[in-house]
C-alpha cells in the first residue's frame, strides 16, 4: 500500500521522465575555452558540473547558444548525470522546457521553477506556463529534496552565465 503523500511527490510524470530521460547523453567530452567564443557551427558553448554533496548526485549540463544578448537562442542542450528520480526527471523536463527558447524566456522559467520549489507547497503552479515542470510542485513540501530538483537548473544557470 502506497500513501497518497508518496504519489503526490512522485507523480507519474516524474517517474516517466526519470525512466526515459530526454536530452541525456552517455558522454560529454571536456569543452575547451575556445568553445565559449565560437565554434565551426557558429554556436557558443558552455557547460557546468554540479554535485549534490548530500547524496553524491552529479550532473553536467551543456548549452549551445546562437546569437547574442537576451535574444540569443538555446540551440543545443545536453546533459549527463547520475542521481535520484527527482534530479534525473528534473533534468529531462529542463531539456524539454528550455531547448529552442530564448535566453530571456529560459531565465523567466528558471525563476518560476525556483520560486515554486522554494514555496514549501504554497504556490499552485500554472501548468499552462510550466508544463511538465509543474509536476515538481509536490517536491517543494520536502525541503531536503528541493536541492535534487534544482540541481540541473542550477547547472543550466551556471553554464548560461558563462556565455552572457
Amino acid at each position: 500500500m502506497t500513501s497518497s503523500a508518496m504519489q503526490q511527490l512522485y507523480q507519474q510524470i516524474i517517474l516517466d521522465h526519470a525512466k526515459s530521460a530526454h536530452g541525456a547523453v552517455a558522454e560529454l567530452s571536456d569543452l575547451d575555452d575556445a568553445a565559449q567564443v565560437a565554434s565551426a557551427d557558429g554556436l557558443r558553448r558552455a557547460q557546468s558540473h554540479q554535485v549534490n554533496t548530500t547524496c553524491g548526485d552529479e550532473i553536467t549540463v551543456r548549452v549551445a547558444l546562437s546569437g547574442a544578448g537576451a535574444d540569443a537562442q538555446i540551440d543545443g542542450f545536453a546533459w549527463r548525470g547520475v542521481g535520484c528520480s527527482i534530479s534525473m526527471a528534473s533534468a529531462s523536463v529542463l531539456n524539454d522546457t528550455v531547448r529552442g527558447t530564448s535566453v530571456a524566456e529560459s531565465e523567466a522559467m528558471l525563476d518560476l521553477f525556483r520560486e515554486m520549489l522554494r514555496s514549501r507547497g504554497t504556490i499552485e503552479p500554472d501548468e499552462e506556463v510550466l508544463g511538465d515542470a509543474a509536476a515538481f510542485a509536490g517536491v517543494s513540501k520536502y525541503p531536503a529534496r528541493v536541492k535534487c530538483a534544482m540541481l540541473p537548473w542550477v547547472a543550466f544557470e551556471a553554464a548560461l552565465l558563462q556565455l552572457l
Binding site: 500513501s3 512522485y10 529534496r145
Partner: protein, 448 residues
C-alpha cells in the same frame, strides 16, 4: 523513567578480538526496557512510530547521559586543571574520572586517552603531529613520526573519508606516497595484496576496524602483524567497533585509535584518540596554547606530558562526563551481549534483504561476520528515493555515499541505502524496514 539493570556482563564480555558470541542475547523484554531509557525513540514520524535505523550515523542518548551533562552544569561547572577552589577540584575530578572510565572500556591506560571534538579531529591530530615531526619538531624522539619522499602511508579502499583525507593531506605535505589496500567484490580487504603493499617503506597503516558501509569486520590481528613486521605503525578507526563490540586496544596492539562519542550513546562534540603511552610521549603536539604547557617564555614553551599535551584550550568537560555515562550504560548492559544481539539483528537484515527480488546486498553475504548493519542497492531506484519512501512510514535510514565514495565506486554504485541497528533496535523495526523495502521497486515501476 528508571535506569535498566540487565544481568551483569559475563566473563566473555572482553575478548581481545571482540568476536566472541558466547554471551546471551538481549531478550525482547530487555530491549523494550532499554527503549524506555531513550525518550527520542517514542515518537511518531509521518504518522508512524519512529523506527530509528541510523545508529551507524549517530546513536540516541539514554536519559542517564543527558542527566550526567545536566548534573555537571547544575553542580560542578568550573575550569578543569586550574584554579584552587572547590568547584574547580570537583570538575577536574569528574573530568578525569570520565577519562578513566573510557580508558577501562577500551583496554587502555588513562594517559593513553586524549579527548578530541570528534574522531575526525583525532585523525587530524595524529596527521598534523606527524607533519610537525617531519619539520623536525619534537627532536630526535619524534624522528620515528617524520615522513618524507620515499616513505609510504597505507590506507584501505574501505575507509570513511575521515580516515582517508587527513592521510592524503599528510602525504601532500610531506612528500610521502599514499598507497591503498584494495577491497574485494565481497566487501572484504584483499589480504594477499596487503601483504605485498606493506613493505619496508611503509610507515603507517590506517585501517577501519569495521566498515561503516558494508559492515565488514576487518582482521585487525593479521593486519597489525603484517604492519608491525615491517615496522609500520597502525592507526585504527574504531568508530564502528567501539559502540558495538568489546574493544581491547592493548590486546589488538594497535598504535593509535579513534572513536566518537555520539555513535556510542554519548553526546556530540566529544571524540577519543588513543595512543600507546610511549608513542604519545614522543609525539609533538598539534594544537598548542593554554592548558598544555609547563613553562613559557616569549620565545619558547615546554609542554606537559600526554594526554594534556594534546588537549590545548578549554576542554569538552560536560561532553566527556556524558560520554563516561554512556560507557557506563553500555558496560552495564554488557558489550558481549550487545554484540550477540546485534549479530542477530544483522542476520535478520541480511536474510531479509537477500530474499527481496531486485535488492542487492553490498558487502559480506549470509553467514559472514558483520556488525548489525546492511547497505543495499535497489535495482533501478536511487538510494535517495528509497530513503524518502522509507521515511514516509517513519523508518529512518541513511542514504548516499556514507562518506565512503571510493568504496561505493568499487562496489559499482554511487550511493546506497543503509539500515544500522543498536541495542535498542527491535526485530519488529527490522521487519518493518524489510516490508517497506520490498515495496520500493514496484512503486517506482522497476520491471524485473
Amino acid at each position: 523513567m528508571t535506569f535498566v539493570a540487565p544481568p551483569p556482563a559475563s566473563a566473555h564480555d572482553r575478548t581481545p578480538d571482540g568476536q566472541s558470541l558466547h554471551d546471551q542475547t538481549l531478550s525482547h523484554d530487555e530491549v523494550l526496557r532499554i527503549r524506555n531509557d531513550f525518550p527520542v525513540l517514542h515518537q511518531l514520524v509521518n504518522g508512524h512510530p519512529l523506527a530509528y535505523l541510523d545508529s551507524g550515523a549517530t546513536s540516541q542518548n539514554p536519559i542517564s547521559v543527558m542527566e550526567a551533562e545536566q548534573e555537571y552544569y547544575e553542580q560542578r561547572n568550573a575550569a578543569v586543571h586550574r584554579g584552587a577552589h572547590t568547584l574547580a577540584f570537583a570538575a577536574t575530578e569528574v573530568f578525569e574520572a570520565a577519562r578513566a572510565t573510557v580508558a577501562a572500556f577500551v583496554g587502555a591506560s588513562e594517559n593513553e586517552i586524549v579527548w578530541t571534538s570528534n574522531a575526525t579531529e583525532g585523525v587530524n591530530l595524529v596527521s598534523y603531529s606527524f607533519s610537525n615531526a617531519s619539520l623536525g619538531l619534537g627532536g630526535p624522539a619524534a624522528a620515528r613520526f617524520a615522513l618524507g619522499a620515499g616513505d609510504e602511508i597505507v590506507v584501505t579502499e574501505m575507509e570513511h573519508h575521515s580516515n582517508l583525507i587527513p592521510w592524503q593531506q599528510l602525504a601532500l605535505r610531506t612528500g610521502a606516497t599514499l598507497r591503498f589496500i584494495p577491497v574485494l567484490p565481497d566487501g572484504t580487504l584483499d589480504l594477499a595484496a596487503a601483504a605485498e603493499i606493506l613493505n619496508s617503506r611503509s610507515r603507517l597503516l590506517a585501517v577501519t576496524h569495521a566498515s561503516n558501509v558494508v559492515g565488514t569486520i576487518n582482521p585487525i590481528d593479521d593486519l597489525v602483524a603484517m604492519a608491525h613486521a615491517v615496522d609500520a605503525l597502525v592507526f585504527l578507526d574504531a568508530c564502528q567497533s567501539a559502540p558495538h563490540l568489546a574493544l581491547d586496544l592493548a590486546a589488538l596492539d594497535v598504535d593509535f585509535a579513534v572513536f566518537s562519542g555520539h555513535k556510542m550513546l554519548g553526546p556530540t562534540g566529544i571524540g577519543v584518540l588513543y595512543g600507546k603511552a610511549e608513542l604519545l610521549a614522543a609525539m609533538p603536539p598539534f594544537l598548542t596554547g593554554g592548558s598544555m604547557i609547563t613553562t613559557v617564555d616569549m620565545g619558547t614553551a615546554e609542554f606537559l606530558a600526554p594526554p594534556q599535551r594534546f588537549e590545548a584550550g578549554t576542554q569538552r568537560i560536560s561532553q566527556a562526563i556524558a560520554l563516561a555515562a554512556a560507557v557506563d550504560y553500555l558496560s552495564h548492559t554488557g558489550m558481549g551481549r550487545i554484540r550477540t544481539r546485534e549479530a542477530e539483528l544483522g542476520r535478520r537484515l541480511v536474510e531479509g534483504v537477500t530474499a527481496i527480488p531486485g535488492v542487492r546486498l553490498l558487502g559480506p553475504g549470509r553467514g559472514a561476520e558483520r556488525i548489525g548493519l546492511v547497505a543495499v542497492d535497489v535495482a533501478g531506484v536511487h538510494a535517495h528515493d528509497v530513503g524518502q519512501f522509507l521515511d514516509e512510514t517513519g523508518i529512518a535510514v541513511r542514504v548516499g555515499h556514507h562518506c565512503a565514495q571510493p568504496l561505493h565506486k568499487k562496489l559499482g554504485v554511487t550511493a546506497s541505502t543503509r539500515a544500522s541497528t543498536y541495542l535498542y533496535t527491535t526485530d519488529d523495526e527490522v521487519d518493518r524496514f524489510l516490508v517497506v523495502l520490498a515495496e520500493v521497486g514496484p512503486f517506482f515501476g522497476v520491471s524485473r
